[in-house]
């Protein structure tokens, strides 16, 4: 990482971070920072909100208004912040368990409101902080410490979930595709509405070891090999795509944003005041 | 003990008795008295037996619920049967004429065509509650007629003031006759 970028946006005295060697989260965090830098946002007006888990430690290292909340609730706290002060750029950094299991209800309702929050899910397919239990994105059949005989749950397609719930911008990329993450986060922040970016990470410590996926570089290579850009799949059949990670901008639309709609209600009474 | 008047307005849900209770309490405040209004909430918002309670006093009102009442209004048979025993000896029972007169000789009973006046004379069953308030006050003079009329007019929906004023006057006449 360029030292300049780090110095500008990191709380240097809080480093090194707590993530394991080979973890993909550091790359993802940098990609988010790059997006903020590209947009030239005023640091004082940026809030980064997280829940609990490995990904949720990210805000502590970042020099913004940062809020490390309770497990699963980042989007609910963030909704309060955005609603109370719509001038702030609110970015939620969360994980697969945090956003899709314990926080699933907040995810679908924040998406439904189309409130102007950009959510970046660092998806490592496992509960890392607690030591490797299966999560809503652990592929069916894979193992976790609480799925010793293989996971029988069907895993979530988070982007489809977010889009179905009303998110007006969704995209997916991986830690291997750092520049794409940056581009998607950047466009997500620019989108006036709820934006959802699934950022696939790697967890060699728990998910990788439990499922014999090799070391960090093997796992990164898998992200590279398994990914296919949404632009390139037009002529492919579903069968060809079964084991593929579809990356890129998946959905982008314009719909009324929540805090702007509320502002209209307030403005109705302005003349009376 | 401090003299306070305890009033129970009963009937079926949707007859507007809680609003009547609120209006009566507001009239008492306009008279410079204290008043507490409460109601029983059931899970059902409409239908069934419903009651509103009002306590009016010159002094502070502590215990806010009505136990034995001085005045009982019943617009339905069901409500009358349910609450009759809560009326004190010497109390005033005001019944709609559709309700059978109960067998109690220790109370004063006034049987008046409240609902009929609302439907036939005024053409709107929903002003039964205001007719009832007028009648209740015509009989008992519990608050000043002036305050009660003022309270009625400040609470009813805009555009229905004339109708409600008529309903109130009709009720007052019923009560005084």
């Amino acid at each position: 990482m360029s030292n300049k970028l780090a110095k500008k946006y990191f709380r240097m005295d809080k480093l090194p971070h707590i993530w394991c060697p080979g973890c993909g989260h550091g790359i993802l965090m940098r990609s988010v920072i790059q997006a903020i830098d590209n947009l030239g946002l005023n640091k004082d007006k940026v809030c980064v909100v997280s829940g609990i888990g490995c990904s949720s430690r990210a805000p502590g290292y970042l020099d913004f208004n940062t809020l490390h909340t309770t497990h699963g609730r980042a989007l609910a706290f963030a909704t309060g912040i955005k609603m109370a002060n719509p001038d702030l750029h609110v970015i939620v950094v969360t994980g697969d368990g945090d956003s899709a299991a314990i926080g699933g209800n907040h995810l679908i309702h924040a998406a439904r409101r189309n409130i102007d929050i950009t959510t970046v899910v660092f998806n490592n397919n496992i509960y890392g902080m607690t030591g490797g239990q299966y999560s809503p994105t652990t592929p069916t059949g894979d193992k976790g410490t609480t799925a010793p005989y293989g996971n029988i749950d069907k895993n979530f397609d988070l982007c489809k979930l977010a889009k179905g719930a009303g998110s007006t911008y969704t995209g997916r990329a991986t830690a291997y595709h750092a520049n794409l993450i940056t581009k998607l986060v950047q466009k997500g922040i620019e989108n006036k509405g709820f934006s959802f970016i699934e950022a696939l990470s790697v967890c060699p410590t728990y998910y990788g070891r439990k499922n014999k996926k090799g070391d960090a570089s093997d796992m990164m290579k898998h992200l590279k090999d398994a990914s296919i850009n949404v632009k390139a799949i037009k002529n492919k059949t579903n069968e060809n795509l079964e084991d593929k990670i579809i990356i890129g901008e998946l959905y982008n639309s314009q719909e009324p944003e929540y805090t702007e709609q509320y502002k209209k209600i307030i403005n109705r009474f302005k003349k009376e005041r | 003990m401090i003299k306070q008047n305890e009033i129970r307005l009963s009937g079926s849900g949707g007859q507007g008795l809680i609003l009547a209770g609120i209006i009566l309490a507001e009239a008492a405040l306009l008279d410079g008295k204290n008043a507490v209004q409460s109601q029983s909430y059931g899970p059902e918002a409409r239908g069934g037996a419903s009651k509103a309670e009002v306590i009016i006093s010159e002094n502070d009102i502590n215990y806010p619920k009505v136990q034995k009442c001085d005045i009982l209004l019943s617009l339905t048979e069901k409500a009358c049967n349910k609450y009759l025993e809560t009326l004190k000896t010497g109390g005033v029972l005001i019944l709609d004429s559709s309700v059978d007169t109960p067998k109690r000789d220790d109370i004063k009973v006034f049987k008046l065509p409240i609902i009929n006046t609302a439907t036939e004379k005024l053409g709107k069953v929903m002003v039964s509650n205001i007719v009832a308030l007028g009648a209740l006050n015509g009989i008992t003079d519990i608050v000043s007629a002036e305050s009660l009329k003022k309270a009625v007019l400040s609470r009813v929906p805009r555009g229905t003031e004339d109708l409600n004023e008529k309903a109130f006057n009709e009720g007052l006449t019923l009560g005084k006759s």
Binding site: N65, A76, F77, A84, N105, H106 | -
Partner: protein
């Protein structure tokens, strides 16, 4: 009814009026009987003043959003009842730990579980203090009339700001739904406290450092340029997490001490006819209204009975209870539960006097006659 600002008003309505008078400009809630009117009236009133109302997807989210709103500088409130109060607890603990000023109204209803949704109870006294995990500060106030609901809501906001704590307004269904006379004070007659904030140019600002002479750290709002970190983890004066045992010990003691050492400032209560008595009733909320009537009835019959009515439920009014306990032969604690505040009274008073309990959990308000009978029985 505008004459002299005297109105007939419901307790829930008075709560919102008090909150607005105190400066509430943010409300996040979820519908639940018997507190729903507080959300309804807030949704109607707030946008008219440029304030914000949001109905969240659940109780947990409304507590979270309330905290989020407060972090941007808003005076924030949420309202609920027993089941929702249970769900909010983790985030109430977060507010205690991260020192976020906010007000949580709990209109108590019969429990446990769904219980008696439309009936009064006072069964959440212990939950208000111990509902979240760990040792933490909390203030809980319980009004006994519509007028006092207004005043106590103002106090709740002021204390939340002054001590940077979640303050619980512990109402009950009777007070919430009854209508009675209230005179709304003029704006200039309502005392309002605001949180202390860092100087704009304070380059040494540490989010959780208490300056000499202050009770709590000054609180910057998100977006004002201080870019600090807030966490529910044990944190040091900078606000960043720490595993250090000394840091943990110091933090939790500071949080608890800011309330414990300022009890006098947080103590609100009423003593009614407590001179030269042999029997003392302790009762609060709507039950205290029955107790007051019972005291009058007993004294008319020649007995010597008085009432102590805590408005501050937490922290416990230890000094006042001990002083009174020393003067009377017996205490009767009357409350709509099976003995919650009574445990506090027993803890403090049983050394000096007999402590009896009158509890009721059937969904009806305790009557004056029931209290009178208990007085005669003991």
């Amino acid at each position: 009814m505008e004459k002299n600002n005297i109105k007939l008003m419901q307790g829930n309505e008075a709560c919102v009026e008090g909150a607005l008078a105190a400066g509430m400009n943010f409300f996040a809630g979820y519908p639940i009987t018997p507190s729903t009117e507080i959300a309804e009236i807030s949704s109607q009133r707030l946008p008219r003043f440029g304030g914000k109302f949001i109905q969240m997807e659940d109780e947990i989210a409304s507590m979270a959003a309330t905290i989020g709103g407060a972090l941007t500088g808003a005076k924030a409130m949420t309202a609920t009842s027993g089941p929702g109060f249970s769900l909010k607890q983790e985030n109430i603990g977060y507010a205690a730990m991260a020192e976020i000023p906010c007000v949580i109204v709990n209109v108590q209803r019969g429990g446990p579980s769904t219980g008696l949704p439309t009936s009064p109870a006072q069964g959440d006294v212990m939950q208000a203090k111990w509902g979240t995990h760990g040792d933490h500060p909390i203030i809980a106030l319980t009004p006994s009339s519509v007028k006092e609901t207004f005043d106590t809501t103002v106090k709740a906001f002021n204390l939340a700001e002054k001590y940077r704590v979640p303050v619980v307004l512990l109402m009950d269904e009777v007070i919430a739904h009854m209508r009675e006379k209230i005179e709304i004070p003029k704006k200039e007659d309502v005392e309002i406290m605001d949180r202390i904030k860092p100087d704009e140019d304070d380059v040494t600002y540490q989010a959780y450092e208490v300056k000499k002479g202050d009770i709590v750290p000054p609180m910057a709002s998100f977006g004002e340029g201080f870019r600090y970190h807030v966490t529910g983890l044990v944190h040091d004066e900078t606000g960043f997490p720490s595993n250090d045992t000394e840091v943990a010990d110091k933090l939790i003691h500071r949080l608890v001490d800011k309330i414990d050492k300022n009890v006098d400032d947080i103590s609100f209560y009423e003593e009614y006819k407590t001179n030269d008595i042999d029997t003392l009733i302790i009762s609060y909320g709507s039950t205290a209204r029955s107790a007051k009537t019972a005291v009058d009835m007993a004294n008319n019959e020649g007995m010597n009975v008085g009432l102590f009515r805590p408005i501050t439920i937490w922290p416990t009014l230890e000094k006042q209870i001990i002083d009174l306990a020393k003067k009377v032969d017996k205490i009767i604690v009357a409350e709509m539960n099976l003995g919650q505040y009574a445990l506090e009274v027993e803890r403090l008073a049983s050394k000096y006097t007999q402590v009896h309990h009158l509890g009721k959990i059937d969904g009806d308000l305790i009557t004056p006659n029931e209290i009178l009978s208990k007085i005669k029985e003991v």
